[in-house]
Symmetry: C2
Subunit: 446 residues, 2 copies
Amino acid sequence: MTETITMADAKAIIENQIEELARRNKEPEWMTKIRYKALEAFERAPHKDPVISEEQLLHFIAKPEVKGLPDHIESLDDLPPEMKALLDRLGISEVEQKYIAGLAVQTDTGVIYNQFLQDWAKKGLIVLPTEEAVRKYPDIVKQHFLKLFRADESKLTAYHTAVWNGGIFLYVKEGLKVPFPLHLFFLIQESALAQAPHIIIIAERNTEFHLIEGCTAPILLKHSLHLDMTEAYFHEGAKAQLTVLQNWPEYVHTRPMTRAKVGRGARFINTTVTLGSGKSNIGDPHYWVEEGGHVELNGIILGQKDFYVDLGGRMFLQGPGASGINASKAVIMDESTVVTRGIIEADAPKTKGHISCDALLMSDKAVMETYPGLISRVDDAELSHEAAIGKIREEELFYLMSRGLDEEKATQLIVKGFLDPMLKDIPMEFLVEIRKIIELAVSGGM
Amino acid sequence: MTETITMADAKAIIENQIEELARRNKEPEWMTKIRYKALEAFERAPHKDPVISEEQLLHFIAKPEVKGLPDHIESLDDLPPEMKALLDRLGISEVEQKYIAGLAVQTDTGVIYNQFLQDWAKKGLIVLPTEEAVRKYPDIVKQHFLKLFRADESKLTAYHTAVWNGGIFLYVKEGLKVPFPLHLFFLIQESALAQAPHIIIIAERNTEFHLIEGCTAPILLKHSLHLDMTEAYFHEGAKAQLTVLQNWPEYVHTRPMTRAKVGRGARFINTTVTLGSGKSNIGDPHYWVEEGGHVELNGIILGQKDFYVDLGGRMFLQGPGASGINASKAVIMDESTVVTRGIIEADAPKTKGHISCDALLMSDKAVMETYPGLISRVDDAELSHEAAIGKIREEELFYLMSRGLDEEKATQLIVKGFLDPMLKDIPMEFLVEIRKIIELAVSGGM
């Protein structure tokens, strides 16, 4: 960081960005007003980030946005070669060809998505860049945009709201069951660029779908900030699954902001695999769960180098019989720090919640902290938590090595056995990819 | 609260108290200096209490101290009749006669203790009012007084340090094993009186003893604040047990401040039974545990009425092989709130820590919150936690009632079964007392 950026500088830059985004997106006035209101909130909103200082944030804001990706990607073959090579290494393109029909790619500044999805639009599955949804479905967007967050909650929410760009608008019509997983990739190409996609998910009653997000950014040179916000609405009886594969390069700070309403009898399973080469990853998703609703937050974290991961997760069990699970498994290497602080609040009868956190520490400089929270305000909720922090048992390692495995393979096998129970809801085909990534990570190949 | 007390008022009052204490205790100058330094710190020290506001604290300070107890209590028969009646109801005097040889009674302003202990002094067991220890053993007290706390940590530590009065100085000479449990009772007689006993425990190498503290204050009219501070030093190989029975009346705020050093191979077991008729009870004991040392913090809480209990407990496992257990069981009735937030930090290899928290919610207005924390900074610590919040299972209740028990008896039996595992280290004789108290509490008889 060589220059000093003042609050006034940052605000002027944000204002320019707002103007440019409004013009480029042919944005209706009501949305641009939301951006300006957020800009107003930015200065007075509290800055709470434990890793990024306010000065750093202003620096991220000041860096100009530069484009790098091709404008159109019709298939994975159109990706830059470095990107393609990584996907190949992970076996993703193979899997794509065989199993994955829905694909949308989020580049620095927009969403490019394939023809295939356009056919499904007729059945009631709308997948659009959020900017386009703003123009095409203003009433729906107005009802759901920034309804689960307030812009002035923090500098990050204010900044995101002012300059959000890209992101997916996913709408699933009542009763529609989507038979294939929908893929969504984020790419960051430019250093010091704050990418702020806004994702809106609306699952009408009795819908079913599985969204897979892959995050990767192979061509970065400097620090970068990824500031996505997801607002999800799962209506009565919806069954939704969100699988997120995060594989950030080591200079990226990510601040996923996710909030979801889980309606009566709805079910939402969110599995996030966070790989360990980012700078920091801090998130605290909120879930409001109504009568009989169920939410599951499964987190797999592989902390490498000096990656700092801080995962929260607040579940508000508001309706009778609502239930929630917040489970995480962390494998922590090098000088990485992983913090988990899930909280479950029971405010209605017959609710159930469970938090679990297991960690394997692979280095004596690795740090694990876990602070689960349980709050019960009714007499017949069942809440529980459990955690275990330890290392790979030497007996286990010796046993496998006595069976002919070398230490690396034995370690991989133990880590796989440790993490596998978390992957129970991932489709078998996608599992192959994740397992490969974990294997690469544990053997130092990522 | 009818009058407004200013900071200047409070400071003037504290200054008067310091002067009176110094004169009454014939205090050496070095101790009075510590008091004045704490008074200086009082104004600027942060006030962190989540229940008592700064205004309330000033009010507690402003209320003058009034004596009520007889000056000398040679046996339990000398206690005021109300006090005696409660002890009888608990069966304590019976137990006393049979099993308990060591007895010290802390009244509002001093310690009155019995002849018996004076004989043990020759063997190296020193039990003295802390004021007397200050005069008799100034070198030992200087080395241990306010060494585990800083006066300016908070308004409460500053206030305590300025006006501490009463408390026990317990010194156990190297190698001495005390064969009988030492009893210590606190009585508060006057309303709005902040009682601030200072307890110093020094267990030299290879000592063994069991200290039992019974806290009760039956003759209160108004709010009161009990602000004790305990500094304990358990040297190499010492085996110490502290059993605390807290039975405060419903107007008392208690702020136990406890810190202990647990030396190489030393073992400290602290079992606290907190009954549910206080106003609030907030404590966060700290334990520093050296190589091979072991500390156990067992908490039993019976929350009644609007009792607010907030129990922390920080264990710093600093030496290889150090271990700690922080276990609590809470039975929460009425509109009581119980919060637990134990933390274990592992900073040395081969350390082990476990936090557990179980709660039975007996009312739909009862609230339980638990926030355990585990921090591991080494790769071969084993840390774990578990918690379960729920209610008495109806099947269990129905089963017992089908066997001929009425609901009250069945509930008592289930609560007893729930709490009993926590009482494993309490001598059988004393257990009788505690069980009786729990039974009375659950059936609404306290």
